[in-house]
């Protein structure tokens, strides 16, 4: 297990190198003069020269690449052209907002999806099975922006139960340490803010979690159906085990691998930022951050945003792979 973890970590190195090359290329393979494109047609020659100097575009290619990688290793993502601030400090609050929302959405999706899938498989062809699979089908095909707007209309506007916008009360801002508001309010001992932050997560979290929930439910169900038919499940029943042990301990554990794959993919996708959901719910996440950078042609920010998102994907993948081998003793690479 430890040897495998180390091997798996070493395997990350080529992936990270590849990622750095791709993101490096984002600026440098812009056709024409990148500085001119960034600054626009009206830019003066001095401005272009200055920007080239600032971005190091006048140096040889390989020098640029190595200084880029070297900066990355130091945790330096460069400077935003628009705000002139270090991207590494600027990006984190957005990333934290996205991580928090993704966590909430995925926890919701996993709890509901997995259990619905398990019960559907266990009670195959029952009314519960039909109902939950119809809901799952609607779930995967539902446009989220529409779901989000409906939720806002019903739960925020009409019923007034939950806030529709933002991460918290702007007049009583959370004192940030990690920028994960749930964690920060716990650190600060502010249960009122914890509750407020939680309430702000509910609507966007459910909107974002609906598609993963539906996919997880369907995957769990089909995987469970296969497992429940297997010989070893019959053996466990022949031992006189309780249905809960048969279904959850043995059944779900054997069915979990494909579900985990889906969970990993969906988590990665959500961490990439959901521009629609973030826009509808005014959620200051990474998606909107990068989107705004695209609008202002802030290439260093775009570059860093893509790098960070890709990095999250790689991490999720790593975690999923390690979980596979933890769950299944037959997996040894």
């Amino acid at each position: 297990m430890i040897a495998y973890t180390i091997r798996r970590l070493l395997m990350l190195i080529p992936v990270l190198v590849g990622m750095s090359i791709v993101t490096f290329a984002i600026i440098h393979f812009i056709p024409g003069n990148p500085a001119r494109i960034i600054l626009g047609d009206q830019a003066t020659a001095t401005a272009i020269a200055n920007l080239e100097e600032q971005l190091g575009l006048n140096r040889p290619f390989y020098v640029q690449y190595f200084s880029y990688v070297f900066d990355l290793l130091k945790g330096d993502l460069g400077t935003s052209l628009r705000t002139n601030r270090a991207i590494s400090t600027e990006i984190w609050p957005h990333l934290a907002a996205t991580i928090e929302l993704t966590m909430f959405a995925m926890i919701f999706a996993i709890i509901v999806g997995v259990n619905a899938g398990i019960i559907s498989a266990w009670k195959q062809n029952s009314w519960f099975d039909y109902l939950s699979m119809i809901i799952a089908l609607i779930g995967v095909s539902m446009p989220i922006f529409w779901l989000g707007l409906m939720q806002q209309w019903i739960f925020a506007q009409e019923l007034g139960w939950l806030p529709a916008f933002g991460r918290g009360n702007p007049r009583d801002p959370v004192e940030t340490t990690t920028h994960l508001y749930i964690i920060d309010s716990i650190i600060n001992g502010r249960t009122d803010q914890l509750w407020t932050s939680f309430k702000h997560l509910v609507l966007p979290g459910i909107a974002l979690g609906t598609i993963p929930m539906a996919i997880i439910a369907r995957m769990t169900r089909s995987s469970m159906l296969e497992v429940l038919r297997s010989d070893y499940i019959r053996t466990i029943e022949a031992k006189g085990s309780r249905p809960l042990s048969v279904i959850y301990r043995h059944g779900f554990k054997n069915a979990v691998i494909p579900v985990l794959t889906v969970v990993g993919l969906q988590t990665g996708t959500l961490l990439g930022g959901a521009i629609l959901t973030e826009t509808i719910f005014s959620w200051p996440g990474i998606g909107r951050y990068v989107y705004e950078a695209i609008g202002t042609r802030d290439y260093p920010v775009i570059q860093s945003g893509i790098l960070v998102i890709a990095f999250m994907f790689v991490i999720i993948n790593l975690i999923v792979d390690l979980l596979y081998s933890y769950i299944d003793p037959r997996i040894k690479y």
Binding site: Y232, R234, A238, N254, R330
Partner: protein
């Protein structure tokens, strides 16, 4: 006088599928005495597995259901009380499964959960039925692994099924089945998937457990060699029905039903050099496909008119020897068992 520990009477287990109701087990009766090895033989598809799953209450439902009959289980070691397993609650059935009636299956390669250690899977059945400390359970698991003849028991407890061979896995299955000292062990073709030398070892092990622990064994097989080796009495099944039943000598030496005779003729013989191995012509009919007459009629070499019109009943030929065939029943005479 030995008493039956398990008595199956007129059991009917049907499957309700899109193609209609399939009578996989259709009026099957037999009994197993305490400490006895009963063989259940018959070709593939005649309902042996469904019969044993019915006893365990493990018929996949839907589509399967026990639609008639009774399965009487007597706790001879306990208070002698008699229960009908068709009628008992699910909870009671769980208390019996793995504890008083245990089962091992045909497919050792896939019958163990690949994600749990051998030890866990043995301890699990003990913990289902007994209050026992972790440590005692582990010791007991190691003892059981030793009992079924697996070397390196202390290491094997912590290994996973994929690290063991098919024969070893079947031994583990036997260890799981024997963990709570059951009164009846149902073995559904336990050696079919194994190669010949391993087969002999597994049979030897089961015989030893039967002798030493007095566990009654219901030995399902289509191999008459296994029957000759292991069994005290034999039930011959054909297309969901019992066609002949008797003690092992009678069945092997003087079989009466044409089907049993065919089965025995198709055994390869050591000393005779027959040019071709005999086999009964045709196949087992699909359950439910024959609605009139004897189900074996189409393949029978002694068939006559009546066989196509009426379904024969089980007749007692001698003490403890029954047979379902018109050859032994005069017209108009109805003998009930």
């Amino acid at each position: 006088m030995k008493k039956p520990v398990l008595e199956v009477n007129h059991l009917k287990t049907h499957f309700f599928t899109d193609r209609g109701e399939i009578p996989a087990v259709d009026d099957v009766s037999f009994y197993i005495n305490e400490g006895e090895v009963l063989g259940i033989v018959g070709e593939s598809g005649c309902g042996k597995s469904v019969t044993s799953l019915s006893v365990m209450g493990l018929v996949p439902n839907p589509p399967g259901k026990i639609v008639g009959g009774e399965i009487l289980f007597r706790q001879l070691s306990g208070n002698n009380n008699e229960e009908d397993l068709v009628k008992v609650s699910k909870k009671r059935m769980r208390q019996i499964r793995g504890n008083q009636i245990a089962m091992i299956f045909q497919e050792p390669m896939t019958s163990l959960d690949p994600l749990f250690t051998i030890g866990f899977q043995i301890i699990e059945v003990i913990k289902n039925h007994q209050r026992i400390s972790k440590k005692a359970a582990r010791t007991k698991a190691i003892d059981l692994i030793k009992l079924v003849g697996i070397p390196r028991a202390e290491e094997i407890v912590d290994e996973y099924p994929h690290q063991l061979s098919g024969g070893m896995r079947q031994r583990v299955m036997i260890a799981i089945a024997m963990a709570c000292d059951p009164e009846v062990l149902i073995a559904d073709e336990p050696t079919t998937a194994l190669d010949v030398t391993i087969q002999a070892q597994i049979l030897e092990l089961m015989k030893k457990l039967n002798r030493e622990k007095g566990t009654a064994i219901m030995m399902i097989t289509h191999d008459l060699g296994v029957v000759a080796e292991m069994c005290d009495r034999v039930v011959v099944m054909y297309a969901g029905k019992v066609v002949e039943e008797g003690d092992v000598r009678t069945i092997l030496k003087s079989p009466q039903h044409p089907y049993t005779q065919g089965l025995i003729r198709s055994l390869p013989k050591m000393h005779e050099r027959e040019s071709r191995l005999y086999s009964i012509p045709g196949n087992v009919p699909k359950p439910g496909s024959i609605t009139e007459g004897c189900r074996f009629a189409a393949r029978c070499d002694q068939v006559f008119d009546r066989c196509y019109k009426e379904d024969p009943e089980l007749l007692t030929l001698n003490e403890g020897h029954t047979c379902r065939c018109f050859l032994y029943q005069k017209e108009g005479e109805a003998l009930h068992v």
